[in-house]
């Protein structure tokens, strides 16, 4: 039973369907083990945005304040898309490489241990 309701076959309005975002989709981005940022960020992005724009324009704005941001060797980064290993194609649109509405993109930088090596 998808809900315990007094009304038979009750169904709820999906508040966050992609149609409600005026042409954007929501993409979440988190930097693993860098809890200076208390939670992953949410961005409203056009589905046809190339990954490169996300990486080079969208992400630096909130992430660059971290002292280790500059030190990231992007060729060594491990990416996860919705929990599975992922290799972003920089010049391919988000939606054409499986980054969909409410997808979670995570990146891991195992050689960078955060501020004071504390995962911060």
């Amino acid at each position: 039973m998808p809900v315990h309701a007094i009304t038979p076959n009750y169904s709820g309005e999906v508040k966050d369907r992609v149609e409600n975002f005026h042409g954007n989709q929501v993409v979440y981005v988190g930097w693993d083990k860098h809890l200076m940022f208390c939670a992953p960020f949410a961005f409203p992005l056009p589905p046809d945005m190339p990954f490169r724009v996300l990486l080079e324009t969208v992400m630096p704005d909130p992430f660059c304040v971290h002292p280790e941001w500059e030190k990231i060797d992007w060729s060594q980064v491990n990416w996860l898309l919705d929990g599975k290993p992922f290799m972003p194609q920089l010049d391919v649109a988000l939606q054409d490489q499986g980054v969909g509405h409410k997808s979670v993109v995570r990146f891991q930088t195992p050689e960078l241990l955060g501020f004071h090596n504390a995962g911060v």
């Binding site: 315990h4 966050d16 809890l35 960020f41 501020f115 004071h116």
Partner: protein, 500 residues
């Protein structure tokens, strides 16, 4: 003719049980349409034991006496400028959270018990719920009155009711109660009457009210005491409901267990904000969140669940996770508010060095290892004139609506990610507990009003964050928000104390 006085027993019978009547031409089921759809089986309402033998006439009398005392003290507090006797102006920020986040829940409790007091077929339960409903209305009123004095001297109190329905972090308490009120009457009672009032409310009131006392806030202490005898009744009602449901039919046991699992999880998530208030917002400390949790949940709650074991009820699911979380959640939450201090209706700050040491002492296994480095970082940035405010909006949990700030309990450096796919859409959660709740009733939670998504959908004004804060949230930008240091609250305090 002399008026005949009823003896207590007769009075009680006439003013509670005797208020019901037999239905001669209407179907009882139509009069109480919400009684069956949750699957709860009630075989005999007359088995309901009234938890407190209180009738309306004596209820009014007691409450009126309490009100008189309360308002006498509140008047004295304001005539003597009680606001100047608090420990430190940082303390007042805890009251801002209380008024915007907790007092409106008293109002929701009033609404919820009024409705539940209509829906039960048994008269004893109906009368008890109606009295609790009136109590809760009194609580919101007395809290507003007590806080109205602070509103004259500090920023951030003026729009509490408007803000409760809009501000991102206030959607956490608001949606908690909305969830309970949108359930059937029995789930509401297990959620609010039992899980919240009987077990978790102590964690809100006892430590928080003694926190008020330790910090010189006599206004809050007084409404706390005035509410306490009401709370004692509410707790008894919560316990009676559980026992009644479990004794009525064995088929009720798994349903009640599921609600207990759900509402303890939701309750502990909601109390994260209280954890943070205790560890970070009380300049004079009472006890750590961890200590409060051990006394009021692990010891008191543990004894209760031992007692309920004879009905086949076990400890709430995820009790082991909850036990580990007491070491972490207050720190994770205050860091979240500190880094979002531009978007809050109250002030935030880096704890003082003595406070950091107190935290190390209270949390020897976790604070220095995981949390002190964050504050060292914040101090360094502040010293460089770069007080850290985060720049983008956070991902939220679909169920508790808290930013995804919680970590794996076995690896406190790793954010806990959980998700479900439901009918073409992805949904994200902060924990297994929140995921379970969604998976059980996805049609309910697909409707979550998630503040970050609402902003992206253009439903909160904008386009810039500052427009949203000012116009949609009605935060006085630059006055109500930002760091405590240099705030108008702090400057005013220094003027009063002659240290400006």
């Amino acid at each position: 003719m002399a008026t005949k006085k009823l003896n207590l027993k007769d009075k009680y019978r006439l003013l509670t049980r005797d208020l019901d009547w037999e239905f001669s031409y209407q179907d009882r089921k139509e009069a109480f349409p919400y009684e069956e759809f949750e699957g709860i089986k009630i075989t005999d309402w007359s088995k309901w034991e009234d938890p407190f033998r209180l009738t309306m006439d004596s209820y009014w009398k007691y409450q009126a006496e309490k009100e008189k005392k309360l308002y006498a003290i509140l008047d004295a507090f304001s005539q003597n400028n009680g606001q100047t006797n608090i420990s430190d102006p940082r303390y007042v920020n805890a009251l801002k959270i209380f008024l915007t986040g907790v007092s409106p829940l008293e109002y929701q409790a009033y609404q919820g018990f009024a409705q539940t007091g209509r829906e039960f077929g048994g008269i004893g339960a109906r009368v008890a719920c109606q009295m609790q409903s009136i109590d809760e209305l009194r609580h919101v009123q007395t809290q507003i009155h007590a806080m109205s004095h602070y509103n004259k001297f500090f920023d951030g109190f003026q729009e509490f009711s408007h803000q409760h329905d809009r501000i991102w972090y206030l959607s956490v308490p608001k949606s908690f109660f909305n969830d309970a009120r949108a359930a059937g009457p029995f789930e509401f009672m297990v959620a609010i009457g039992f899980s919240f009032e009987y077990v978790l409310t102590n964690l809100l009131f006892v430590p928080f009210m003694s926190g008020a006392a330790y910090n010189g806030d006599m206004a809050t202490v007084t409404f706390g005491f005035s509410a306490q005898s009401d709370e004692a009744r509410h707790m008894t009602l919560g316990l009676e409901v559980i026992k009644f449901l479990l004794e009525q039919h064995e088929d009720n046991v798994p349903i009640v267990q599921k609600w207990i699992d759900k509402w303890f999880w939701r309750g502990t998530r909601l109390l994260t904000i209280v954890a943070m208030m205790m560890d970070y917002m009380l300049p004079n400390k009472v006890m750590s969140w961890k200590e409060a949790w051990e006394v009021y949940f692990e010891e008191a709650g543990g004894a209760l669940f031992k007692d309920l074991a004879r009905y086949g009820i076990r400890m709430p699911k995820y009790a082991e996770t909850i036990e580990k979380e007491k070491e972490h959640i207050s720190h994770q939450a205050w860091w979240t508010f500190y880094t979002h201090g531009h978007a809050t209706g109250f002030h935030t700050w880096v704890p003082s060095d003595e406070e950091l040491d107190w935290l190390s002492e209270k949390y020897p296994d976790t604070f220095d290892k995981y949390y002190r480095p964050r504050w060292e970082m914040a101090k360094e940035m502040e010293a460089k004139g770069e007080r850290f405010y985060t720049k983008a909006l956070p991902q939220l949990c679909t169920v508790c609506q808290i930013p995804m700030l919680f970590t794996e309990m076995d690896d406190p450096t790793q954010t806990c990610y959980r998700s479900s796919d439901y009918e073409e859409n992805k949904y994200h959660f902060c924990s297994d507990g929140c995921k379970d709740i969604f998976d059980d009733e996805p049609e309910k939670y697909v409707q979550s009003w998630l503040p970050v998504h609402q902003i992206f959908q253009g439903n909160c004004g904008g386009p810039d964050v500052e427009d949203i804060l000012r116009d949609y949230y009605r935060i006085n930008v630059g006055t109500d928000n930002m760091d405590m240091k240099g705030s108008p609250d702090e400057l005013r305090w220094k003027e009063w104390k002659g240290t400006a």
